[in-house]
């Protein structure tokens, strides 16, 4: 494999293979607490951290992350404050922002994505994930990301056909976000069969693949990695801890450990030469 990429995200995944990518919603329940949670995840072994910048119409999210977004919006989270938080974070794990396209368009005048990307780069973010931006509409944002050295990560869905797969894989940067199953984000009790199929289809593409949507336990992580993934993405399971645990900081850190350990269990024994 090509280790000589200039993508910090891709490099991080390769170096920490199998990677744990942790998502939480920024500002849930406050940006101050988000800082502590990010640091906890970093300590727990998350290799990449996705921060959700809340948008009022989160059409790709299940109930857990919807609720987190609502809490964040009610707390008054704004893009400006979000970027300030990010700029002040010093984690080992590179950070990505996950948000909806309208938030990106409105950061400057004239519905132009460039100002958002420029600010994201300035704040030290390494990549962007936009669940409502398919490859076809991504031209302007990709251009801005390239100009500022950010990875724009695309999602591959179970319904993505082979034709579109090529164009997505060509465009995605950092890694390919493999959607484990149809539907919205949210912790599930098992690993979908679609995951295995998707990973098999993606095998030929050189870029790392990380699987998300429904991953909640170490054993899932193990199974997914053993099916060929380079990383697992965990979101709702962490957001649940924030909402429900008495000590979210400790809970997040230990959950990250469990997941990372699970992922590592999934690595196939190297074949005897």
């Amino acid at each position: 494999m090509n280790a000589g990429t200039d993508s910090e995200i891709e490099r991080t995944i390769r170096e920490n293979h199998p990677a744990l990518i942790a998502y939480i919603t920024a500002g849930d329940p406050s940006l101050e607490e988000t800082r502590e949670y990010v640091e906890a995840l970093d300590r727990g072994g998350a290799d990449l951290i996705e921060l959700g910048l809340p948008f009022s119409e989160p059409i790709a999210e299940g109930p857990t992350i919807q609720a987190a977004i609502n809490r964040s919006l009610e707390a008054g989270t704004t893009p400006g404050a979000f970027f300030d938080l990010v700029a002040g974070l010093e984690t080992e794990a590179p950070l990505l922002v996950m948000t909806y396209y309208n938030m990106i368009l409105q950061h400057g005048p004239d519905a132009d994505p460039e100002p958002f990307v420029s600010r994201a780069a300035e704040a030290g973010l390494a990549g962007i994930i936009v669940p409502d931006l398919p490859a076809e509409e991504s031209g302007p944002l990709r251009k801005a990301c390239e100009a500022h050295g950010l990875d724009l990560v695309f999602i591959v869905a179970p319904t993505t056909d082979d034709e579109r797969l090529d164009s997505i894989m060509e465009r995605t940067a950092g890694f390919a976000y493999v959607q484990a199953r149809l539907g919205t984000t949210g912790a599930r009790a098992d690993v979908s069969g679609a995951t295995h199929d998707s990973l098999a289809r993606l095998d030929e593409y050189p870029i790392p693949k990380a699987v998300g949507f429904g991953v909640s336990e170490g054993d899932h992580a193990a199974e997914i990695v053993s099916a060929g993934a380079d990383g697992v993405i965990v979101g709702s399971a962490l957001v649940d801890l924030i909402a429900e645990s008495e000590d979210p900081v400790a809970a997040l850190e230990s959950k990250a450990r469990e997941l990372k350990a699970g992922a590592e269990r999934g690595v196939p024994e190297p074949e005897q030469p």
């Binding site: 948008f55 009022s56 119409e57 989160p58 059409i59 790709a60 999210e61 299940g62 109930p63 919807q66 609502n70 919006l73 704004t78 893009p79 909806y100 396209y101 309208n102 938030m103 990106i104 368009l105 409105q106 950061h107 004239d110 519905a111 669940p131 409502d132 931006l133 398919p134 490859a135 076809e136 509409e137 695309f154 999602i155 591959v156 869905a157 179970p158 319904t159 993505t160 056909d161 579109r164 997505i168 959607q179 149809l182 539907g183 919205t184």
Partner: protein
């Protein structure tokens, strides 16, 4: 293939998982709707006639004509089965889903008009159907909930957010993202990702096509202007589409027989001005849904269009006394036609709409939907006896078509309540008779 955008508006801003479904839909739309494969359009038109009651009349409004001292014609979509223009689209999409081999229908609804139309169409075509409706709307639009249930549809209350249309759309999109392989999402207006805006417009364009033929038949020429209320804009685009080519420029190129309108056909999209056109950024509240007049460009529910949003990009809670106009976005084609200058955006507030509701009921014996009352309210603002008092200038001309997009039976309670709070001209005394 059909264009995915209208100038800078439109597009397909949806999760990757839905993109193949949009491609499949686009393909089906091309084949069945545009190329009439398997006689789709024939069946659609026949069902709209026999089940839906098309054509709807274009009626000269005698007393409005007198009041406004010009010829006023009403396009009577209120007479369509279900009581609004919504069926044109719902039946088209459910039938298309059937041709596509889909096994299930989902739809969002706000006030319940699109939901009831979809439930009726699904019952008629024997398709299982689930309607998402915000909790607040479920509670305040009971009769429509019951109508849907009686037509055999499931109605699923959406508890998220403020429990209105926006949340219902989000929930339906989520269902679709899960069930996209066997399910068709019947979007209720000319909004959403391509090909919805184009396809819904095509299904609704029968309104303007009929009206155009009817006015030539009745008045001997094209109208000077066409007025239609705009929420998402399906009634507007349906009313305007056939007239879009009848612009000043395009028509003056043709021969100048007496048959053509004075200066081409002017098109007025009348939005809900609500209680004010000001926005409360702090609260995330726009006390109107005058998206075309006051909105800014952005992406919502799959399309780039005009939106009511905060400077950060959060979508505003919109407001109108008429639930069917109460939406923070608008169809991308309409945004484009406004940007181009072909369509003039206008807005009429809650009070003027209530007045117009009572005025049409009393003068013409037609109780209009509160949505439709906005278009009628604009007529009053521009051409009524007190027109001078308002800062509204528009040259409607001598021959005006107004689309009455629906009937107002559904609005009685709201109108009674809202009328009581205000001092509404033309309102009857609606005291509740003692028991």
């Amino acid at each position: 293939m059909s264009e995915a955008t209208f100038g800078e508006y439109g597009g397909q801003y949806v999760p990757e998982a839905l993109m193949p479904a949009l491609a499949e839909l686009e393909d089906a739309y091309e084949r069945y709707v545009r190329n009439n494969e398997e006689g789709f359009m024939h069946e659609f038109r026949e069902r709209m006639a026999d089940f839906g009651g098309r054509p709807t009349p274009l009626q000269r409004a005698d007393r409005l004509s007198e009041r406004y001292d010009r010829e006023i014609y009403l396009k009577r979509e209120d007479l369509l089965h279900g009581g609004a223009h919504k069926l044109n689209n719902a039946l088209g999409q459910v039938l298309l889903a059937k041709y596509m081999g889909k096994e299930r229908i989902i739809a969002e609804t706000g006030a319940g008009q699109h939901g009831t139309a979809t439930a009726m169409a699904a019952a008629h075509l024997d398709m299982p159907c689930e309607i998402y409706m915000g909790r607040t709307d479920v509670n305040r639009q009971r009769p429509n909930v019951y109508r849907m249930r009686m037509n055999g549809a499931e109605v699923t209350p959406v508890e998220a957010g403020r429990g209105t249309l926006k949340e219902a759309i989000n929930a339906t999109m989520r269902d679709w993202a899960t069930t996209v392989e066997n399910t068709h999402y019947v979007i209720g207006s000319v909004v959403g990702p391509h090909p919805f805006p184009t396809m819904v417009r095509d299904f609704q364009s029968v309104i303007g096509r009929e009206a155009r033929d009817q006015i030539r038949e009745k008045a001997g020429r094209l109208p000077d202007s066409v007025l239609a209320c705009a929420g998402g804009g399906s009634n507007t685009m349906g009313s305007f589409h056939a007239f879009v080519p009848d612009s000043v420029e395009q028509r003056s190129a043709k021969d100048s027989s007496g048959q053509r309108p004075r200066d081409g056909v002017s098109l007025y999209a009348v939005e809900a001005g609500g209680s004010s056109l000001e926005i409360d950024e702090e609260e995330g509240l726009a006390p109107n849904s005058a998206t075309l007049s006051t909105g800014t460009d952005g992406v919502l529910h799959g399309a780039m269009t005009k939106l009511l949003q905060s400077t950060d990009g959060q979508i505003m809670e919109s407001h109108s006394v008429s639930a069917g106009l109460d939406y923070a976005g608008v169809g991308p084609e309409l945004s484009h036609l406004v940007a181009e200058g072909r369509v003039t955006p206008a807005s009429v507030g809650d009070d003027a709409a209530l007045e117009a509701f009572h005025r049409l009921s009393r003068l013409e014996g037609i109780i209009p939907a509160l949505e439709s009352a906005h278009a009628l309210g604009y007529l009053e603002r521009v051409a009524g006896p007190d027109a001078g008092e308002y800062d509204v200038e528009a040259d409607l001309g001598d021959l005006v078509v107004v689309t009455v997009s629906g009937r107002g039976d559904k609005d009685l309670e709201t109108v009674l309540e809202e009328t009581e709070k205000r001092d509404i001209e033309a309102a009857p005394d609606v005291e509740v008779f003692g028991q």
